[in-house]
Symmetry: C2
DNA sequence: TCAATAGTTCAATAGCATCGAACTACAATG
DNA sequence: CATTGTAGTTCGATGCTATTGAACTATTGA
C-alpha cells in the first residue's frame, strides 16, 4: 500500500517513546550512524547488514513514531535524518546526552 | 531460596541496560519516586499499587541488574536507593537528564 | 507458636520481535 | 512501454519476553 510516513508533532513526542526506541541496541546504532553521517542516510546504509529488511523497516518505523527521525522518500530510497533540534525543544539535552553516553561505551565505536 | 541481591559493578553497567530499564513507564516512575523520596524506599512504596507483587519484584530486579538501584534487606522489607552517583562516573549526566525530561512530560504532577 | 507482612520464585499465558515471502514503487535500460 | 533491478513495506507465522496468580521464604510481633 505504501502509505505516506507518519511523523508525530513535537507535542506528541514522549519520553517513554524515545527511551523505548533507543533501548534497542540496533536502533541506538542506527541513530548514531545517522548522526555521524555527513548528511541524511537511507535505511540500508544506516542499519546493520545481516538484518532482514522487514526487521530494518520495523526499526525505522519505531524510530519514526518515537519522533527521533524524519523519513522522506527520495526516488527509490528513503532518506532519514535526525529530529534532534525539535526534540531538544521539548527535552533539552536528552538525545545528545544519550548519544554521548553511547560513545563512552565502546570508545567512539572504532572498527579495529 | 531468597538468594542475596546481585548488583553489577560500575564497569558492568551498560547504556543499553539503563535505557532498557527506564524505557518502561512503570520502572521510570519507580525511579522517579525513589529520587523524589527523602530517603531510601521499600518496594511496595515505590511501585504502583494495583500491580501484582510478582511484577513489582520483576521490575525491581531489572532496575537492580541495570545498576540503577541498590536494594538491601532491612528486616522484613527491602529498601531501595538510587546509584546515580556511581552511574554518573561512567555516564555523566545521563540519569539526571532523563529524570529531568520525565518532569517536563507531565509538568511534574499536573494532570492537565 | 501462630498470624501478618514483604518479597521472591515458578509455571502458564498473552503480547511483541524477528524472519522469510510476497508485494509496491520508482529508475534505468533496451 | 516492457523488463530488470533496487529499496522498502506488508503480512503471517514463530519464538522470546512481560505479566499474572499461586505457592513459598523470611522476618516481625503478639
Amino acid at each position: 500500500m505504501q502509505r505516506p510516513f507518519m511523523h508525530p508533532s513535537v507535542d506528541a513526542i514522549t519520553l517513554e517513546g524515545i527511551l523505548y526506541a533507543l533501548a534497542d541496541p540496533v536502533r541506538l546504532q542506527i541513530v548514531r550512524r545517522i548522526r555521524d553521517g555527513s548528511c541524511a542516510m537511507n535505511c540500508s546504509e544506516a542499519a546493520p547488514e545481516k538484518m532482514a529488511k522487514s526487521t530494518q523497516s520495523h526499526h525505522f518505523q519505531v524510530l519514526r513514531e518515537a519522533g527521533l527521525i524524519r523519513s522522506e522518500r527520495r526516488g527509490v530510497e528513503v532518506i532519514n535524518s535526525l529530529r534532534c533540534d525539535e526534540i531538544g525543544v521539548k527535552f533539552p539535552g536528552l538525545v545528545p546526552t544519550i548519544l554521548t553516553a553511547a560513545e563512552q561505551r565502546n570508545g567512539s565505536h572504532k572498527p579495529e
